[in-house]
Structures are given as C-alpha cells and as structure tokens.
Assembly symmetry: none
Homo-oligomer: 196 residues x 4
DNA sequence: TATGAATGAGAGTTCATTCAT
DNA sequence: AATGAATGAACTCTCATTCAT
C-alpha cells in the first residue's frame, strides 16, 4: 500500500541497470555494435524497449558504459597478477585459464571484438587507446624472465613472445572459436607456444 | 565515336562487377555485415550508390555472392593440398603461410568473421554449414599421420590437434591480430603447437 | 492517529486538484500545450508524475479544464463591467489595468496564447469559438458611445476601435512583452489609441 | 538519359533546401517548435519525411538555420533604415507597414514567437541574446529625436516610447492578432501611440 | 492517497532501395 | 550504363499513461 522507500527504489534501480548491462553485453558481444538493435537488448533483458532509456541516454552510452566498466575491472585485476602464487609457468597458465573461462566469455569477446571493429563509437576507440594491451604484457615480462632463468620458458625476446601468445589467446576468445567436438584448445597445448 | 559492341559491354560489366565485389569485400571484412552501409561500398569502389543495384539485387545478395565465391575458390585450392611438395611438416607450414598472407587477408577475415557472426543473412549460415572447416581437417589428417610416423608431429589424436591448430590460425586471421610492433606470430612459433 | 474523515479527505482532494491546476497553468502558459511535459507539471507542483492521473484523466483533460474554468471566471467578471464606477474613460482604463495586472498574468497568457495556437486539443478551439472576444467588445460598446458623446473618445466606429485596442492589449499579455528596462507600456500611452 | 550535370544538381539541391525551409517556417510559425512534427513539415513541402534529413541533420538544426538566416536578413535590412526617404514620422510609419506586411508574416511570427517561447533549442536563445531588439530601437532614436524637434513626435524619453511602441507591433505580429472582421489595427491608429 | 518504475504508441532519424534524368 | 535525389520501412528515442507497491 505504502510507496517504496528510497533505499528500496535505489536497489531496484541498481538491479535494473545491472540487468540491462548484462543483457546488452551478451547481445553486443555476439552481434557487434551496429548489429545489435535496442529491441534485442530489451528482449534479452525481458523488459520494454523504452525502459532502457530510463537507465541510459542512448544505445551509444550504454555501449560505452559497458566497455568502460569492463576496462576498469580488468585494470584492477591486472594489479594482482604479480602476487599470484606458483611458478612463472603456473602463473601464466592460470591467467590463460582465467581468460578462457566460460564465465568471462562475453566480456572478453566484447572487448576484443570492439578493439578491432571499425563500427564502434569514437569514444570507445579512445578508451582502447588508453588501456592498451601492452599493460598486461609489461606486467608479465618480469615473470617471464624469471621463468627463462629457471628454464621454464625458452630464450628469445620476452616481449615478442608474450605479445604473440596473447594475440592468440585474445583471438580465440573474441572469435568464440570453440570447436563443437573438441572445444577450446587445451591450455597445455597453447602453452607449447611458450616452450622451446 | 561508334557505340561499344556487345563484347566490350560485357567486359565493362564484368569489370564493374568485380570492382564492386572487391570494394565490398574490403568494407564487409572490416565492419561486418550490418556495420557496412551501401554508401561505404560505393565510396570504396568510387561509384554512385545506385550503380550497385545494376549489378546486384541487394546488399544481401552482394554479401552472399562474395562469401559463396570465396568458399568455392577455397574448395578448389584445398583439392591441391595433397599434391603439394615437401614433408608433411613443410606442407602444413606452407599452408599456414598462405593463409596468413597479406594478400588473402580480407578474404579470410570476412569468411572467419562471418562464420561466427550472428548478424549475417540466414543463407550465409547455410553455406558455412555445408563447407565446414572439417573438409580442410579431413584432407590434412593423412598428411598429419604421415608426419607422426616420421616423427615430425607428436602423438595424440590428429583431428583434435589439427582442429585446435586451425582454430588458432583462423582466429588470428579474422581478428587481424597484428601487433603493431611484432606483426603476426611467426609461423614457426605457431607450429610449436604441433610439436611435443 | 485516527484516519481522516470524509470531509477532510474531500478537502485534501480539492486542495491537490487546485495545486495541480495552478502548476499546470504556469507551465502551459510559458511553454504551450505540446511544449509542456507532464513531468514538468509534476515538478512545478512538487508531486509525483503519477498523481496527476488520480485527479485528471489526461494531460488533455487537465488543459481543457483549466481553459474552461478560466473562461467561466472571465465571463462572470465581465458581467460586472457595466456597473463599474467612474467615467467611460476611467472604466476602460481600469479594465485595462486589471488585464495587465501581474497577478492575472498566467491566466491571460494561457488564454490568449491558446486562442491562436494550432497545437491545442480540438475541444479548446470549440470553447474559444463560443466565448468569443466579441462578448467583451459588445459589453463595452455602450460605454464607449457614452464616452464619445461626452467627448472622452474620438468619433469613428466603436466596434472597430475597441476591437483593435483589445487585440493590442491581448497581444501584449500573451507575449509577456515586458521590456526589461521599461516594463509594459503605460496604460495612458496605450489609451492614446482611443484618442483623437 | 544522361545523368544531370553538377550545375543542375546544385540547383535542385538549392531549390529543395529552400522549399523545406519555407514549409518548415510556415508550420513552425503556427505551431511552435515542439508542436511541429517533422511529418507536418514533409506534408507541407510535399516531400517524404526522410528527405528532410538529406538537407538538414535534425529538426533542431532546421529550426536553428531558419531563425539564424532570418536574423541575418533582418540585420541587413535594418542597416538601410537611416537612409529611407520621408520625414521621421513617415519613416517609422513605413517601417511599421513593412513589419505588418502579409508577406513577412510568417517570418516575424516565428521570430517573435520563438523569442518568448521556453521550448526552443538552447542555441536559439543564444542567437536572440546577440540580436537584441534594442538594435532596432537604437537606430530609430536619432530619427525619433529629429521628429520631436520638428514637432511630429511628443516629448518624453525616446527610448521608452519606441520600446513600448515596438513591443506592441511585435506582439501583434507574433500573435497574428488579426480580427476577422476588422483585420490588423490601422497603422495610423497604431501611430497615435507616438502622438501627444 | 502517493510514488516512480514500467510500458507502448508515436515521434525523430537512418539507410537500403528505387527512379527520373 | 551511370548518377544521386527521393522514398519508406525499420530503427532509435520520447513521453503520456499505467501499475505494482
């Protein structure tokens, strides 16, 4: 009977906003920015098309928001990398496993796909320029060198090998290149790339 | 100023048609099906927007035509694979080099991208079902086994390893994952995947 | 905390209704019918958007109600005109002063503005046809003639002069043509129009 | 048979653009910015709704363009005022006649209406701030003073009287306060305001 | 009674496609 | 055969109105 109080309303708003972002992430990841119609997002979120606009000013803003928040999230996660347990080989192996994890699938797909797409809003291109993939590589170089010294990794330019390795991982993620029969390549097969 | 004869007109038509397909291929590859406006194709081909429709009934037909012709071309090429010179290792190495070749870039990008995209015409999905990647794999299995016997390749399920290997190659192509500094991964680094 | 009784509830309803009408009058007067969003009315009245609909069936009905009530009010006032004190000149002068009075501003603005606007509900156009401005003119003609006889007003067609005079007054009101430095024209300057 | 040449195309574009502006002017003047639907403009111009957008980026831009061009036009006209023939009284009389002229009706209606409306794009408000009505008044003050000296105009503050006079003229125009029977007030009746 | 989240019809805008030249 | 202006269906977005609380 009595109207909802502020706290309850705030919670509803937060939940709805999150729900829309999740739905949009899923559709954007699969169909790209232009290929996604707002009606698809609404359907995926099981809400009306108009409601999207009570939470985001435009399809563009919704897209940018999602990318931005994911980039920030990934930045925070990267900061923990150096303190992960295990040998250098195990550290990179775990990182790989995490990236290929089904749960992160859409997020990585969207980011990688958008990084290369030519049909995204200008703003998104700028965000990607700031958060270059190199940050990850830079963090891993000391770990890789430790692994070289301990004999776990082959000699050769650490930056070059790591760059190549992660362009492969990224490509796999973005393309959702899951073979129906065999699934994604085994992490241990992938890590052969980092072996002699 | 005598009017062009039949044969000359046909030639002009053929050239125009080719010109439009090349332009469309380039734009579709970079921006995807929905992300590509017919005006972009016209601009890329340096012709007027309307002219496209004297050569193709629709954007959809143009897209399907391109995909179809590329699939047929790739099918023809595949038939030669068995007779390529060299050891099994060299054969697959050359095949890889060819796929990653800059000249084929747009074609492979478009095919791989479209294979996974959810925003392409229904017909294209059907084409891909028929020309499954498996055809390539099937052709390579005997070669791979020969390589296993000769010790060039590791033991293990040939189909599985080849499937994984080519999902990686395909992913790299489609994403145009060329690092600015280091370029595409070296073929020899990639082929580590097919080593013990 | 005994529940409010019937009478108290009725009073609250009446007050709310009045509050909404006042707020709507203000916004409609400034922004016109189409230019006014129900959310603006709610904000001006410091109530929720939904509440408007417990007092009025629609924005249209609210608008029509306001216009209608104002027309009736003005009709009642007109009936007193003939019995106002003073000479004919003074009577019209006082009437003018009353019309230009700041307190009636929004009401007159809304009426005049709506009378000419093409974007109001059909019903409103009908109301205006019934309550033509001529009623006012008709009532004033005898007074004007008396003034002509006493030499206060110039010769000439009374209806024509009065019509012109009040189209000017009306225009000034509706446009809120208040110069920032000098304000509305002096009543005595305006009344020059009714002089030789 | 042969395609139109550049010059012909440019002419078509110019004509079309002008046609859309004229149609929009008419509808905007009568129904205001918010009250005007793009479909109405298209209908008035007898073109499709989409075509508007090949000539203007948005309804907003179309509106701003119209206002801007009219302000510039009026600015140019004002520069000639001082050199008009006749006595000061005749000069202002002619200026008044010109403003009330049926041909300029929509232009003046739109400008005056938009000057006071609260539902126009921000940019338009800025334009009006720059082109204040005062420019006209400032130009007329010397003329008015000459008229005072020659006895054509009454004593009193020139700026105040002129301001009031033109707020009346402006109001009449904007409101299209044409009485069906008597039409707009006679210029000579209006000019009584500028008499003793 | 009062709130504001949610809906959906309709407005503004885009772009594949058609058509006069 | 070629052009680009014009169309209209489909899309993005707005806002009067409804409804759960």
């Amino acid at each position: 009977m009595s109207p909802l109080n502020r706290q309850q309303l705030d919670q509803i708003r937060d939940e709805r906003r999150e729900q829309i972002k999740q739905a949009a992430l899923k559709v954007f990841a699969r169909r790209g920015y232009t290929g996604t119609k707002t009606s698809m997002i609404a359907a995926e979120a099981s809400i009306s098309e108009g409601l999207i606009y009570r939470y985001f000013n435009s399809k563009k803003e919704l897209f940018i928001t999602i990318i931005q928040e994911m980039m920030e999230e990934s930045k925070r996660e990267l900061e923990h990398i150096e303190h992960l347990p295990g040998t250098p080989f195990e550290q990179i192996r775990n990182l790989t496993l995490n990236m290929l994890d089904e749960n992160n699938k859409f997020a990585f797909m969207l980011i990688q796909r958008s990084r290369k797409a030519d049909d995204v809003p200008e703003k998104v291109a700028q965000i990607f320029e700031q958060h270059s993939t190199n940050v990850l590589i830079d963090l891993l170089i000391p770990i890789f060198i430790k692994g070289q010294n301990s004999g776990e990794f082959p000699l050769g330019e650490p930056r070059k090998l790591l760059t190549w390795y992660f362009s492969i991982i990224n490509s796999l993620i973005i393309q959702d290149q899951v073979d129906e029969e065999y699934g994604l390549p085994d992490v241990d097969v992938l890590m052969r790339i980092l072996k002699k």
